[in-house]
Each structure stands twice: as C-alpha cells, then as structure tokens.
C-alpha cells in the first residue's frame, strides 16, 4: 500500500512535469474520445430518429393484419376486431394504446388531377394518440368521429391535386364485391407531416364512413399497437402470433427489415471507427511516453541504485500512461457531454433535406448517447490504452542501472 501511494504520486507528478507535451498528447486523446462518442451519438440519433419516424408514421410497434393482407392488400382480407384473439391482444398489460383502421389502396380525383393514395379509415380519438396525425393538422381540423364525412389530406397532396380546404375530392376504391366504389369527401383538414412522401401517400377518413363506402360490416384491415417499452415488442409478437393462424402479428422491424440490418451494421462500423481513432492516438501515446522515459533514464538508474526493483519502475511508468488515459477519457467524455448539450434538440441537416427524405428521415437528427455506446468507447480506449502504455513501461524497466546512471 505504501509503495502504491509512492508510485501513484510519482506517476501523477511526472505526468505534469512537461506540461506542454502532456497537454498536446491529451488533446489528441480528448479529441479522439470526443470523436468516438459524438459520432456514435449522431449515428445512434439517426437510427433512433428513423425508428421514431417509422413508428410515428403509422407503423406503431406492432401491427395486426389478416394473414393474407400483406400479399394482397384488399378489403376482403379483413378481420373482426371484436374476436377473442384480438381483444386478448389489445387488453394485454404491455400495450399502451392501439388504433384500428380500414386501410385501402385508392385513387383520389380532384377537379384537375388524379393520383393513387392509401386511404385510412380511422377512429379519430384513438388514431390521434398513436400516430403523428394527432399533432400535425395545420389547417382546418382533424376528424370528429368515426362517422365524420370529411377527409384530412396532406399539404403536399393538396398542392399536387390543386385543391384546398373546403373543396370536394372523390375517392375511388374496390368494394367487397370487387366493384369500384366511389364517394365524395369535403376536405376538412390539411396536415403537415415530417416527410413529403407521407403527405402524398395517406388520407384520413372516418372508419364508419369508409366501411359504408366499401360495404364492410364491422371488419377492419389493420390494428397498430404502441407498447410501454420497445423491449417488449419481440416477446409480445412471438406470443401473440401463435394465437390464430388467420391473423398475422408482426413487429415494426419486420415492416422495415432493413432497419435492423442498419443497426447491426452501425454497431460494427462504429467499433471499426473506434479502433481507427485509437490507432491514430496510439502512435502519439507511445512516442510521447518513450520520450518521457528516455529523458528520465538517469532517474530510473537512480531508482534502481536506491534499491527499487525493475517492477517498480514498470508500474510507475505504466501508471503514468494509465493516468494520462484516464484524464483524457474524463475530459473527452465531458467535452462530448457539453457538445451534445449545446446542440439541444439535435443537428439540423435540412441542407440535405431531400437526401434525408430518400432514406426516410426528417431533418433534425438528435444526439442520442446510450450507456452501451459510452461504455464501448471508454472501454476500448482504456483497455487498448493500457496495453499501449505497457511498451514504454517495459522499456523503462529494462534500462540497466550502471548504464542508466552514467548516461547524460
């Protein structure tokens, strides 16, 4: 214990003996740690935002469909929302909220233009809580009830159709007898979604109104669920998917399978980035410590003359390296924390708006620091840094006393 304290105070004081040199190499370490944490936070934020957008964008955490629906998304592939299975799922304690929808591909006609969209017949009270639509109506109002006869469309779609609030548009779709059904709707609300493609793709009408239009009695095409915690998604899906083979229960990750792949790829590429950054610092750490060792040759000779074992010198220099890395890590983490705090909600990348749209993302990317990312960055630097410090320490301990002491 005694000698540990001695080694510790020697290492600490030696670290600050050449302040400029230590500060320069600390800058390298701090910058490296900062780069690791901030890039991880940015990437994680990007994925987080993607998941958020996906969930917000009508997908929810879990989706329930008729087992044929995904292959053939027509009105006939619908299911009864009051069945035993469905109520068991919607009453599960893990479910935070849910919304049932009639979801149909349809064509919309204004006086001037025609285009294809997806029609969502919803229960406005439930839907506005679960998806972005609840806080996105910027003109007019959202639907009042399931039997509201109005329609809410996206800003971009209104522009494309050359129509506006209060005008009438016609929706055409296939009814349960495979006949074309159409119905006029008055535009009661215009919404503004984070992404243009969303605005162009989805229109909202009352669930009962939609059912009447296509002749559906009581059945629906889709239920989306939001759970209390994303970790519950997979267990719930696995459990519920087995209940009824006519019902297909799937998670958001199945809806967007490439998201999961991207998460995996990000983990790997972040780790490679950590290693690259570390290597860039490692050359400097070794060089700086070796310099410090060789200019103190005489001192190590003196230690040995006074009866210190080589081990003592090894630990002394090693501890110096470790302290340097710890200081660098602390400062680097602190700096990362400050820069993440300073950016507030995230970085605005709207310069690349259409590029972001292409990968289904909105323009503000929040920094998300996860405990895991933080640990991996810190442990990588700490472990590899300790190994790196071992080499100069070993060199120091190998200096022969008589040589060391006579060398000027």
């Amino acid at each position: 214990m005694n000698s540990f304290l001695l080694i510790f105070s020697l290492a600490w004081r030696n670290l600050w003996r050449n302040k400029r040199r230590t500060l320069v190499i600390l800058l390298a370490i701090v910058l490296g740690v900062w780069a690791m944490i901030v890039t991880a936070a940015f990437m994680r934020g990007m994925i987080f935002q993607m998941l958020e957008d996906t969930v917000d964008n009508l997908a929810g955490h879990v989706q329930i469909h008729h087992s044929q629906y995904l292959d053939d998304p027509v009105i006939n592939n619908s299911f009864d929302p009051d069945s035993h299975t469905i109520s068991r799922i919607t009453h599960d304690p893990r479910v935070l909220m849910w919304s049932d929808r009639i979801r149909l591909p349809a064509v919309v006609l204004s006086e001037r233009e025609t285009t294809g969209i997806t029609m969502l017949g919803v229960n406005p009270a439930r839907e506005s809580k679960i998806s972005f639509i609840g806080k996105s109506v910027v003109e007019g109002r959202f639907l009042n009830s399931s039997s509201d006869t109005g329609i809410v469309i996206g800003q971009a779609l209104a522009d494309k159709l050359e129509t506006r609030l209060g005008k009438r548009i016609v929706l055409m779709s296939q009814d349960i007898n495979n006949e074309i059904a159409d119905r006029g709707f008055r535009i009661v609300g215009i919404y503004d979604a984070p992404l243009d493609p969303t605005e162009k793709a989805f229109v909202f009408v009352g669930k009962e109104t939609a059912a009447k239009m296509v002749g559906l009695k009581g059945a629906i095409s889709e239920i989306v669920l939001r759970l209390h915690d994303t970790d519950m998604v997979t267990p719930l899906v696995t459990e519920m998917d087995q209940l009824d083979h006519t019902i297909d229960v799937m998670s958001w990750l199945e809806v967007e399978p490439y998201l999961e792949l991207m998460i995996q790829m990000m983990d790997t590429s972040m780790f490679i980035w950590y290693l690259i950054v570390f290597l860039a610092m490692a050359f400097g750490i070794i060089n700086t410590l070796l310099m410090a060792v060789f200019e103190r040759t005489r001192e190590f000779g003196l230690f040995q003359a006074l009866g210190q074992k080589p081990r003592f010198i090894l630990f002394q220099v090693w501890l110096e390296a470790i302290l340097m890395i710890i200081v660098g890590l602390l400062a680097g983490n602190f700096l990362s924390w400050i820069s993440v705090m300073a950016t507030g909600d995230g970085i605005d990348v709207s310069v690349f708006a259409r590029g972001m749209e292409m990968i289904n993302m909105s323009n503000i990317i929040p920094f998300v620091i996860t405990f895991n990312d933080l640990m991996i960055a810190n442990i990588t630097v700490a472990v590899l840094g300790m190994l790196t410090g071992l080499y100069p320490a070993w060199r120091a301990s190998r200096l022969v006393p008589a040589d060391a002491i006579t060398r000027i």
Binding site: R20, R21, V24, I25, A28, L31, A35, T39, F42, D71, D72, P73, V74, P105, A106, V107, L109, R112, E113, T114, T115, G116, I117, D159, K160, E162, M172, S173, Q174, N178, I180, P257, Y258, L261, M262, M265, W273, I276, V277, L279, A280, M281, F283, G284, I285, N287, T288, L290, M291, E295, V349, V351, F352, A353, R354, G355, M356, E357, M358, I359
Partner: protein
C-alpha cells in the same frame, strides 16, 4: 542547397524508432483515407449510374413546372420530332419519349391505382432497364400495339397472369374519361419495389390515343453512361429546346432525383468530418515528436547560431525535416491505400447485410472503389497541410533562440 536536404535527411534518422513511429502514424492516416475516399466515391458512382440507368436517364427534357407537379396538361408538343432532333444534334442515340399518366387498373378481381407510362417501344430499351427485365412473355411490340407490360408485384396483387386482360381507367389530358382494355403481354421484374408495384407501360401512340394527348408527351429521356457529361449535354440542348418551345427545360439527374445528390453530399460531408477529426488526432500525436526533436537539439542549434547560422536557416532546416518525413510517409501510405483500392477494384468489396440494404436503394451489392486524382491525392494533401502546420510551431520557437543561452542548455 543539396547539402541542406542531406543534412535534414540525416537528422531525421538520428532517432530511428521515433521517426518510424511518426511515419507510421502519418502513413496509417494516409492509406486509410485514400482507401475510404476511394470506396465512397466508388459507391457514389454506383448510386448515380444505378439511378440513371434503371429508369430516369441522365438528362430529361420536360415542360417547366412538370418536375414539381406532374400535371398531365403540362406536356411537350410534338415530342417525337424533338427527340429525333436531339438524336441528330447530339449524336446520342439513347433518347426516348415518355408520356406519364395515372389510372386505375383492374383485373377481374382487383383494382389498383398505378402510373401508366406511354413509351416509344423501339427506344425505351436504350434509356431504361425495364424492357430488358421482362421475365415472362415479351416487351411491347410497336408504338401502335394495344398491349401492356406490368411489374411482377403488381401482377401478383392483381392476381393476373400473361394473356389476361387489364382494364385501364383514368382521365385524359382534356379531362375526359380515358378507358381501355389491353392484354398483358409481358411481366417484368426489376427488383425495385416502386417500379414493380406501381408502374405499367403501354406503347406511346396507344397512350396518346387513350389519354387524348394528340402528339404530346411529358418527357424526352436521354441516357449516357458518363454522368459527368450532364452539364455539357444540357448546354448542347439549349438552342434546340429554345427553337421548339421556350418553356422546355433540360434537367440533369441531380435535378430529377435531388435526393440521390443530397444523400451523396450528406455522406461525403460526414465522411470528411471524420477524416478531418482523424487527421487532427494524428497531428496532435506527432506534434510532440516534432517539438522534441527541436528541443533536444537546443544546444546544437546554439552552436550553429554561434557559428553564424541565422535562426531562419535553422527554422528552414526543421521544416525541411518535417517535409521529408511527411512526404515519405504519405507516399508509402498512399501506395498502400491505392493497392487496397486496386485489389477491391479487381475483386469487388461486399459485406454481410449489404445486399439487403443495397436492394432497398436499387444498388448492386458489390462496391468497387474509384481510383482517381481526387480519391488518391485529396486525403494526403490534407494530411500534409496539417503536419506542416504542426511543424511550424517548433520551427517558430527557434527564432527566439539566443546562442549563449542555447549552448548552456543540456
């Protein structure tokens, strides 16, 4: 002067281990950046060539405003004559006219809304991959044929097969009802969800008839494999377009698909953020070496000053040392980076999970790095600037040296 370079060269090797470690740091940075910039640029080439080759072409002639709001009325009169003129003037043969509409298509059981495209059957194959990807049946026979080709996913959704009839119902250019029934003669499979699910093609003349278009169309699509020619091509088209209709625009791939351009820019800027950080870390890493190699020679510099050297001479010597060391490391590092790039250029680079993600964006799963002046020299140039800046600090310190004091230094 030669002696000075020799002198600098010898000084570098006075501390071999230190020099080699420093060179390793610089060379490591250089090879890494050369490799990854090459990879990035290669990937962008793929994205651009993919996006132009599949369907959109390199340049499209459209009526002003059509790009933002694809309205049927906003069309090009006598588009086929214009296309012929373009072929003649530019000597590019890969030119095709398209008319775009929207309609409900119905089989006996199902109805979907899709984009209906009228194409020049002889030329469409030169500007898009769809005609070549017909997996069942055949492509459209001629411009007057009454037939349709559809994507595989759509065929599945509509529950129809080859030979079945497809009802097309939309509105024409003048607002009248456009309706017809065509048999399906071909089913294509492009691998792109968007195209396979949401697009059917019919011959141009049939389209013009059904949708009351007269001789109008919506786009003249021009393809060339060299994406860098986009601006030349646009300038070349200017007089031609002016003569035909002052409201016509030539739009490059970057205007037609700004998303691709911006996602490339986003990726490239975030890449350079990382490279600059990396170079800065390396710079701090080696700054100590430069500093030490000067400080430990204080005494020696004192003697040189006493012998009549000027501080500026010694400063120059120090900069020369840094320059030689950096250049050698950069050359070695760049060569290694190039070698790796060359290896992957021959063999292609692919990794796990990439195939799925690539398919999502219509890209092949194998990346080949680009080897160009930009990919090879940009990274090393940045490193050179940073390291010389790092060497400047110790070199400046020498200017304050006093000979007597310096010689007393141990």
């Amino acid at each position: 002067m030669t002696t000075n370079w020799q002198f600098a060269w010898r000084n570098i090797w006075r501390n071999k281990r230190r020099t080699i470690l420093t060179m390793c740091a610089i060379g490591f940075g250089a090879s890494l950046i050369v490799f990854s910039v090459g990879l990035q640029l290669g990937q962008y080439d793929l994205m651009i060539s993919g996006s132009t080759r599949i369907y959109q072409g390199l340049v499209q002639v459209q009526k002003k405003g059509y790009l933002d709001e694809a309205r049927m009325r906003n069309s090009i009169a006598d588009a086929q004559t214009l296309a012929n003129n373009i072929r003649k003037t530019t000597a590019i043969n890969d030119v095709a006219v398209r008319a775009n509409g929207f309609a409900l298509v119905s089989s006996r059981e199902r109805t979907y809304g899709v984009a209906v495209i009228g194409v020049e059957t002889r030329h469409e194959g030169n500007v898009s991959i769809i005609p070549g990807l017909v997996k069942e049946g055949r492509y459209l026979a001629n411009d007057n044929a009454s037939e349709v080709v559809i994507g595989r996913s759509l065929a599945k959704n509509l529950k129809i097969t080859l030979g079945d009839e497809l009802t097309i119902l939309g509105s024409g250019r003048d607002g009248s009802i456009a309706a017809t029934i065509f048999p399906v003669v071909g089913i294509f499979d492009s691998g792109s969800r968007e195209l396979d699910r949401g697009l059917v093609q019919i011959p141009l003349n049939s389209f013009q008839q059904v949708f009351s278009m007269g001789n109008h169309a919506h786009a003249v699509v021009i393809y060339h494999q060299n994406a860098e020619l986009v601006d030349t091509l646009k300038t070349q088209l200017q007089p031609l377009l002016k003569a035909a209709d002052p409201d016509l625009l030539a739009l490059g791939w970057d205007q037609i698909q700004p998303g691709i351009k911006e996602s490339i820019e986003l990726d490239y800027s975030s890449g350079w953020f990382m490279y600059i950080v990396l170079v800065a870390i390396i710079t701090f890493s080696i700054m100590n070496t430069f500093l030490m190699s000067v400080l430990e020679r204080t005494r020696e510099f004192g003697i040189m000053l006493a012998l009549g050297f000027k501080p500026i001479n010694i400063g120059k010597l120090v900069m020369m040392e840094a320059l030689i060391l950096t250049l050698f490391a950069l050359i070695a590092g760049t060569l290694i980076g190039l070698a790796v790039n060359y290896y992957f250029l021959i063999n292609g680079l692919t990794f796990e999970g990439m195939e799925e993600i690539a398919a999502q964006y219509n890209m092949p799963a194998t990346i080949t790095p680009q080897i160009s002046i930009e990919s090879t020299l940009l990274g090393p140039a940045v490193i050179l600037i940073f390291t010389l800046l790092a060497a400047l600090y110790p070199a400046m310190k020498i200017r304050k040296l006093e000979p007597v004091e310096a010689m007393r230094h141990i």
